[in-house]
């Protein structure tokens, strides 16, 4: 990599990020990494290793204690409320439990992705411009569920709901997507569908993706770069090639004994994950 491309192609830079919760828990310790333009960076680590905290620090749903986060040359940690909202518009976020508003329609959920761009007073009354509605339907078409637009969000299945989550993120026209265990509540087949959409967005629209994942084969299939977190410290950095050649044993060393594959796993493990699919 030439220094120039490195400077120009960096979407996100995290420098010496530390988060200490008020109860004294150190969730992140001096974490530094970069996400280059168009990269699909996967964070692996046990639950409680700080993945969710890390992702939430990036759009400041959680305020970091120390360190800097620079998105597209702009320091997020120094942003005031207004600047922060403008930055958040550019970062779509997808959640393990989808975080849809259950009682609102699918369309309203998708439209809410555009809130940051709209007149705050008009949008409070649920008034959206016609063009925005068309775009919302288009976003739903991209994830293949435009026929569900007028259902209530809680009538949808888990996989469909996560697609609504992706459509909502798409409405932000994001430069980057944060995905916090997007498939952990879904069964393996749906996991590939959902990650497929993320990959498509990553390849076709050049949206950088920062995603936390659990399963080695999913990591191997989708990641262009991997970092491993353990107790809030980065314990592993690997390229696409490193991860392709990684064995289960190595994976478990980073990850702990609980690591498993989806496809190579036994039937019971697949069933376990299907059991988790129910919200």
């Amino acid at each position: 990599m030439s220094p120039l491309s490195c400077f120009e192609g960096i979407m996100l830079e995290v420098k010496n990020l530390t988060k200490v919760y008020p109860d004294g828990t150190k969730a992140l310790k001096n974490v530094s990494f970069t996400v280059e333009d168009g990269e699909f960076l996967v964070i692996i680590g046990l639950s409680g290793s700080g993945k969710s905290t890390l992702l939430r620090c990036i759009n400041r749903l959680i305020d970091p204690t120390e360190g800097k986060i620079i998105l597209d040359g702009q320091d997020i940690t120094a942003a005031d409320n207004r600047e922060l909202r403008l930055i958040r518009r550019k970062i779509g976020m997808i959640f393990q439990h989808f975080n849809l508003v259950d009682r609102s329609s699918v369309l309203t959920n998708v439209l809410s992705g555009r809130l940051g761009y709209l007149n705050p007073w008009r949008s409070v009354l649920h008034k959206f411009p016609g063009s925005t509605r068309k775009e919302a339907i288009q976003a739903l078409r991209k994830v293949g569920i435009e026929d569900q637009a007028h259902k209530r969000a809680d009538e949808l299945s888990g996989g469909q709901r996560q697609r609504v989550g992706i459509a909502r993120a798409l409405m932000q026209e994001p430069a980057m997507i944060l995905a916090d265990e997007p498939v952990a509540s879904l069964d393996p087949v749906l996991a590939h569908t959902i990650l497929g959409y993320l990959e498509k967005m990553n390849r076709e629209s050049g949206i950088s993706v920062l995603c936390s994942l659990h399963y080695l084969d999913l990591v191997q299939r989708y990641a262009s770069k991997v970092i491993g977190l353990k107790d809030g410290v980065i314990v592993y950095r690997g390229t696409r090639e490193d991860i392709r050649s990684m064995t289960d044993q190595q994976f478990k060393e980073i990850y702990g004994e609980e690591a498993e594959r989806v496809s190579a796993g036994t039937l019971s493990s697949a069933e376990n994950s299907r059991g988790e699919a129910a919200p």
Partner: protein
């Protein structure tokens, strides 16, 4: 298992006979010294309170007697079952406690809780006596309850009325004074006519011992009335106050024969002579036939009931609306998840919660008593009382539903770059609607039900009318009010359940 080990770790401080002796002197002391302290305290407490209660009840049953023996004898003769049972049972329990104390010194015999069953039985007997439970009266007097009850159950005779027309004739009398005896009234053909003999006399009066001295006996003859019709006799005194005199407890009346005539004897009634009457006193006897004419009309009690049931429903509605308006801001102060920011907000949270709990613990009826003093009798007092209680109840329910909303959608909407207000409208409000609607409808339901009784303490609404009718022994009118209350509550129940089903 653990408990057994625990018991074995503690040896009795005294031997069995000593424990028994101690419990003979003070029931339970033996057990305490055998290191069965809780059991000992419980037995001592039960025994002392039972002895106290029994002595108190025996003194009441044997009241007016002096001295322990006389009281006991009288009490035994008046209520042998209770007095005998409780004395014997107390003696039995005491002996049992003594035996128990001896047994408790031996670790292997530390069981047996039948004594507590006996203690409970004596408490039950004392409770029966104190609360004056009387099964005999419950069955014997059921018949007497039936008359008013049947009127309440089927009150509709009183719901309608007709206009009345009366056919009457009167005759004057000179009463208790000197003067000119009134002339015999003129007979006019086709008009009713009565003749009273004699045309002067003395009213009934009372002697020093409040015994009635009967007045002059009058004989009344009537003609030209409607044949075979009930005819009431009325009395009009010197200043024109009319009343229906009674004879042997019944209103004086007669039924005319087939020619429209009647004959009747009456004793002149007791009446205080009004001080405003001067000169010769002329009273009047009136014979009156009342007949119903024209179409059926709703009666006064029915109209009044309808008016007040409307007032009641609106009282409930207004109290609910005011309750919502006031409780929404309060509920934010009482939601832990919103107030957990700093110690100042937590202090506000605890303060609000405490006030809400206290206000809610006081029944709306008691708030109504206070509100009546505050704003005077009438529906407004009821609304104030119900509003106060609603704010406390809704404040708690709303704040709990705020506490239980899912933070996920809030996070998601925030992450899109939405403002605070947008986040509230898109992530918080949709989650709040179902519990909000549900609790509000539920509260409206409660408020209407409460406003039906709040009138009993002067807070307006139908309760006031109901109590008035019952006190005036107008059971039919009371029955109309009861029916309307029941119907309103039933309809409201149904409607509120439907609305809740639609929304939630």
């Amino acid at each position: 298992m653990n408990q057994r080990v625990y018991k074995e770790a503690k040896n009795s401080l005294v031997s069995a006979p000593v424990a028994a002796l101690l419990s003979l002197l003070v029931p339970g002391l033996g057990q305490i010294m055998a290191r069965r302290i809780q059991r000992g305290l419980l037995l001592a407490g039960s025994m002392i309170s039972l002895i106290g209660l029994t002595i108190w009840r025996i003194r009441i049953i044997g009241r007016l007697e002096e001295g322990f023996r006389d009281i006991l004898v009288k009490a035994l003769s008046r209520n042998p079952l209770f007095v005998g049972f409780s004395l014997l049972a107390l003696l039995g329990i005491w002996i049992w406690i003594i035996v128990d104390a001896a047994r408790q010194t031996d670790k292997k015999k530390q069981y047996g809780n039948a004594i507590f069953a006996l203690i409970l039985l004596v408490f039950f007997a004392v409770g029966w006596q104190i609360s004056q439970i009387d099964l005999v009266r419950l069955t014997r007097d059921a018949n007497e309850a039936w008359t008013p009850l049947s009127k309440i159950l089927w009150p509709w005779d009183a719901a309608v009325t007709r206009e009345t027309e009366s056919l009457e004739a009167s005759a004057k009398l000179l009463v208790d004074s000197e003067g000119e005896i009134p002339p015999i009234p003129e007979k006019r053909p086709g008009e009713p006519y009565i003749l009273v003999e004699p045309r002067s006399g003395k009213l009934s009066s009372l002697d020093e011992n409040n015994k009635v001295i009967p007045g002059t006996e009058l004989s009344i003859k009537g003609e030209n009335f409607e044949p075979d019709t009930h005819t009431g006799i009325w009395w009009s005194d010197a200043v024109g106050n009319e009343f229906q005199p009674r004879q042997e407890g019944r209103y004086l009346s007669v039924t005319t024969d087939d020619t429209g005539s009647f004959e009747l004897k009456m004793i002149m009634p007791y009446r205080l002579v009004p001080p405003s009457a001067r000169g010769p006193q002329y009273h009047e006897v009136i014979a009156r036939q009342v007949s119903e004419v024209g179409p059926l009309l709703p009666s006064d009690p029915l109209l009044l009931t309808i008016e007040l049931i409307i007032e009641t429903i609106f009282m409930g509605m207004m109290a609910t609306i005011f309750g919502i308006i006031l409780s929404v801001p309060v509920s934010f102060l009482a939601a832990r998840n919103l107030m957990s920011g700093s110690w100042v907000t937590m202090a506000i949270y605890y303060f609000t919660r405490t006030i809400l709990n206290i206000v809610r613990a006081i029944e709306p009826l008691i708030w109504a008593l206070i509100a009546v003093v505050w704003v005077g009798l009438g529906p407004f007092a009821g609304i104030v009382a119900l509003t106060i209680h609603s704010v406390a109840a809704l404040g708690k329910l709303y704040s709990e539903s705020i506490e239980s909303i899912n933070p996920g959608p809030i996070e998601a909407i925030q992450a899109t770059g939405a403002t605070k207000l947008q986040t509230i409208m898109f992530a918080v409000v949709p989650q709040m609607i179902p519990p909000f609607v549900s609790f509000t409808i539920y509260r409206w339901d409660i408020n209407v039900r409460m406003s039906t009784v709040i009138g009993m303490v002067g807070g307006g609404g139908i309760g006031f009318l109901l109590v008035q009718y019952i006190r005036l022994l107008e059971y039919r009118s009371a029955g109309i009010a009861v029916w309307f209350i029941a119907l309103t509550v039933a309809i409201l129940d149904y409607v509120s359940a439907e609305i809740r089903n639609r929304f939630v």
